[in-house]
Symmetry: C2
Subunit: 171 residues, 2 copies
């Protein structure tokens, strides 16, 4: 037991600095490319929350939050904490700056993603419900994330599964 | 139709400045007192989200986010955007500053609230799932929020309903 641990046990504050970010993506190539440097720290999980996820998402210059997608069953929300991102949807591209926010209703087939076209890191708080049977459609990629990850986490639009799915990252 | 409306229709960005904050509380006296000046702007609702709420919560000096409480069915999460608040739970009091966050698991009977003991406004992003049948227990008040708001939004711990429930605010 190290010094400080008692204090930690007394705290409800999430010790963000102690959490290990998840870098990169499980997307198959070539769709992994813009997401290789994205970094997600799972804040909600750290507090034992299960109904929704809350991530602290850091996008270095050039990085995207995801391929453009929409969820069939889960609401999503993003709040820009620092920097500047470009939100891309069917409506086009618009810049979101610190203090800006947007929401994406489950089942709305207007795919979205955040792209960092600036020269500085962007930091986003992202929230998404965890609904059983959720799936993700990808607007600009030959990719679909089926419910329960079966037969694979990502399959092609013709139904054939991608193989060699693994985390790919660039630091 | 005013100029700018077409642009608004093209935007997924939530027009936060156009949203009307909800000031004050429905708590019966004397429990309303520390919450009369709190201000909530409902960001998630503005985007049509239904599975969880996301509020932009502003607490002037002296204001509390709520009476100390815990939800039976809904997870909650808070992220401090600006200023400083004191998080009060069974574990005691601890200060949260901008960038700090905490989560409260549904059913954990450790009541919580945020109190602004500073001399400046505090701003918090708060997230909570909307689960049917949710209820709220109040740790330090003779108050209970029963499922579905029946027989009243707030009742005493002996089951008798509060009357004259209405929004009370101080600007």
């Amino acid at each position: 037991m190290r010094w400080g641990q008692v204090e930690d046990l007394m705290s409800k504050k999430i010790d963000v600095a102690a959490l290990k970010p998840v870098i990169g993506t499980m997307y198959p190539p070539p769709y992994d490319e813009p997401c290789l440097a994205r970094s997600r720290t799972k804040l909600g999980d750290a507090a034992g929350l299960t109904q929704f996820g809350v991530n602290y998402l850091r996008l270095p210059p050039g990085a995207w939050s995801s391929q453009r997608h929409w969820q069939t069953a889960s609401d999503e929300f993003v709040y820009i904490l620092a920097g500047e991102v470009t939100l891309v949807t069917d409506r086009g591209a618009e810049v979101l700056q610190a203090g800006d926010c947007a929401g994406f209703k489950a089942g709305d087939p207007d795919g979205h993603c955040l792209q960092n076209h600036s020269t500085a890191d962007a930091v986003i708080l992202e929230v998404g419900t965890r609904v059983a049977g959720d799936a993700a459609h990808y607007s600009d990629a030959d990719m679909f994330a089926p419910p329960g990850g079966k037969p694979a986490m990502y399959i092609r639009k013709d139904g054939t599964p991608y193989t060699d799915l693994k985390r790919r990252a660039r630091s």
